[in-house]
Amino acid sequence: MPGRAEGCATGADVGLPAKLARPFLHILASLLLTIPALAEDTAPKPFAGDIPILHEEAAAAGIDHSYGGPWEFFVGGGGAAFDCNDDRFPDVFLAGGKGEGAFYANRSRAGGRLSFEKVPQDLDPKDLQNVTGAYPLDIDQDGRQDLVLSRVGGNILLKGLPECRFEKANFPWNFDGGRAWTTAFSAIFEPGATYPTLAFGNYVDRAAPGSPWGTCADNVLIRPKKAGDGSETKGGAAEAGRPDYSEPFALSPGYCALSMLFTDWNRSGEPSLRITNDRQYYRGGEEQLWRVEPGRAPRPYRKADGWQHLSIWGMGIAEGDVDNDGYPDYALTSMGDTKLQFLDREFEDAPTYRDEAYQRGATAHRPYVHDAGKPSTGWHAGFADFNNDTALDLFIAKGNVEAMPDFAAYDPDNLLMGGFDGNFTEVGEEAGIALPTKGRGALIADFNLDGAADLLVVNRGQKASLFRNLGGKAGFGTRPLGNFVKVKLAQTGANRDAIGAKLAVKIGAKTLNRTIRVGGGHASGISGFVHVGLGTAERAEIRVQWPDGEWSHPYRVFADNFVLIDRGADAARYWYPDADRPEPPEPAVTARSGASAETVADP
């Protein structure tokens, strides 16, 4: 109404007699007083557990690496963390995009500051260019980690040699890397196989008419040929005791995969291949799950099987048993959204999932700082227990594709801490990872073997970030996190690293589940110790379900230890990082991180 003062109308204003207006005013006043209280009740509660302090020290640690290049490298940007020099400290390979990928040997001391040293390679530099991502895997089963490089225009298999040296093995292993734009990878050992089955996820077929719209390339599954199966030429790789990947199988249709993962979604012992796809380019596509049954051609799950249509800008897959029910749960990154999927057990043996990201506070759809009202762009996703409280936390790498104006430009990575109520709380800012970077792939690994998960994030067009987990935030600095155990499995014969094995770690009445897997995330893979946060438990019983389905007896281990479990062994062996490793060289002080690194004491 013109000329009338705006604000709350009183009883007199609305024409009520004074007698009636008085109680009305009381009610109104009490309502107004309760509004702030209600607001307080609905405000997110601060995370009650330890918030890990992640200290960025890439430059001080000797990591100086960027991922970049034109349109083809808007996606990808991953790396690999694995031990390539037999000291069990995770070493690193980082994809460079148009530029060269780089190998870094880990020179950190246990519990100390992080330190890496670049390792030159006697490889054709061109082979290290155009790399989008990398996954470590012992392909030829010689006890050394090899490396799968996903590339734009021909994938490469590198055979691991001593002291973090590598040689190209495409020819000896009969592997034709193809010419596709590869952005995803996963691997599994199928029953009876000597070597792993490899799956490559491809993006846009740039040569197809009408590209890029609706021209997604097929994905590829390559089973190793068996010696003596009559399908290979005499004197071939398989007969010579080498992997033979000469028969690729097209997984058609492809819908522009950006991550794939062999996962035993129904605990059948037969992992299926889950693929997350980018709806930006496909037409009529969706998320995919392929049955991969031994000796049979892969078949996609369809609606009739219970697989429900889902169309997202799928970027990354993380697998973890968030609710400790024994079945894997999945986080799928996208643009302006994150899915957190739980198997809907109402449908018997059907891959039907409920999305509980909203209920559990894990949508991570907009930046939590510098929020300009624009949606986030999620890439790598990884579950890990960053504070060792037993609950899985979720890391998501975030970053604008390049300069998409409708999406957040300042888009910090997420650290969603899992709570004991099954919900997640964002602590990225308090943890120290809210940087204005364009995150892509990431490596969650304990680089200094102190029992706390560290983090390396590959950024597009910017230097990679390396965060050392200093421990939980405390009034006086940092304090140690919960207890942990790190487990490395080994078996003889094929599949030495027990890929596909499941760990059931029992503490009190709770069982924490982990699976050894290769794939997922965004163009990034890790191998080595499996990290399990134990909270306040001083002891744990570990049972292993080996890849062939056989369960072990319980292994009794004490917390805060690294344990090696060899199949068939009566007891786990304890392993200790070399306490006498030389002190790494002092970092060159840089404007970016050198000064702050000097002020941080070793935990």
């Binding site: 009650a48 557990g49 330890d50 037999d86 069990r88 060792n388 409280d389 709570g419 004991f420 109520d421 421990g471 405390a474 009034g475 006086f476 600095g477 304090r479 140690p480 996190l481 919960g482 207890n483 503490i507 009190g508 009445a509 709770k510 134990l534 909270g535 306040t536 438990a537 001083e538 002891r539 009794r556 281990v557 004490f558 917390a559 805060d560 230890n561 090696l564 007891a571 062996r573 304890y574 392993w575 200790y576 990082p577 070399d578 306490a579 006498d580 935990p603």
Partner: protein
Amino acid sequence: MMGKRRVTLVLAALAAIGSPPLSATAGEPAWSEKAIKERIDPASLVGMIAGLQLENLAEEGRDLFEARFTTLDGAGRPNATQAIVPTAPRRPAEFAFQRLAGPDANACSSCHNEPVTGGAGGFVANAFVSEGFESANFDTLDAQFSNERGTNHLFGAGLIELLAREMSADLAGLRRAALRQARDAGEPVRAGLSSKGVDFGRITALPDGSVDLTELSGVDDDLVVRPFTQKGVMTSLRQFTVNAMNQHHGMQADERWGTRWTGMADFDGDAHEAELGTGEISALVAFQATLAPPREETPDDEAWAEAASRGRTIFAGLGCESCHRPALPLKSLAFEDPGPVDMAGTLRRGDVEAPATYDLATLEWAKRLPRNDKGEVMVPLFGDLKRHRIADSRTPELGNETLAQRFVERDVFVTAEALGPRRHGALRPPRRHHDAGRGDPRPRG
């Protein structure tokens, strides 16, 4: 008259309800049965605490040790079991007081009282050790559900823990040296593990940094000497205190059941948050750590003295001293709290800005402790802090428990310190070796 009296009573009651007269110190009504009237500020427990200051802290601990906790303090745990890892039952506990699963006492001193506070307990004060079932508490004495144990005394417990800490450090040092040697030589190194003259078997360090533990003897795989409880499964007084306060009283320490590790301020669901802070636990630790150790004395009576002397000779002659070592040497009487080997869930050194150090050397009883020629205190424990298998197929009657506990088999126990309050006067042969099975009214002491 009656009417007037009734009015007076009503007025008094109303006065009590309306504005209770408060005690001068803590804002509690004068008749309040609240045991913790003032919290102990953990910030005051930093650095060296010695002499009178330490005695005062120990007195605060004694008050808590003797306090009768009630629901006013948060005693009881309707939504938590006795398990050492925070565990909620599937349904609220049926009984607020339960002799087997606990809570089974409202004061530490209800059991630890012979001959004085901090001592052992009579048969009636036996405790029951069992898993924290999440689904049920069994009201049965059947040994398949719990082990019945005598109440241990805590005299000299501070010295015992200090011995264990030094032994753990020795063993870790030997392991590190063996690993270094194996890495340098590129071949396995078999190394003996011995500390303070106690042999813990051997380890084989492998060049890859792993350790073969199959020849280990009497100590856990992580080489941490855990000196407390009959099984030797408790690392420290602090850990023992945190566990026991929950099990026996339903008083939950924040350092394990607080929001940091459970997400809840009132995990046990009794409407009391933060029942025990780190200050209260520290005081309880200080009380126990400063309890004087039992002493060996020569009785005035000649006959007793002669008998004791003869008994000592027989004790040595039978080989009892191979396990019941009369004394072990201790380098330092500085008792740091939190200690060096506790894990998450028990306050650790790193959880505080600076730990407190209780200087036991400044206590009156410490001045009377014997020392060796190196100046080390000879702790008169009649034990070795090592676990032994005390029953086998030839003597099965010595193993009267049916449940293993925390990775320790049912017939394996840590050597009991043979000096104790129920043996005052003269040494008696170790009771354990004379137990006659489950029917024996004297469970493991």
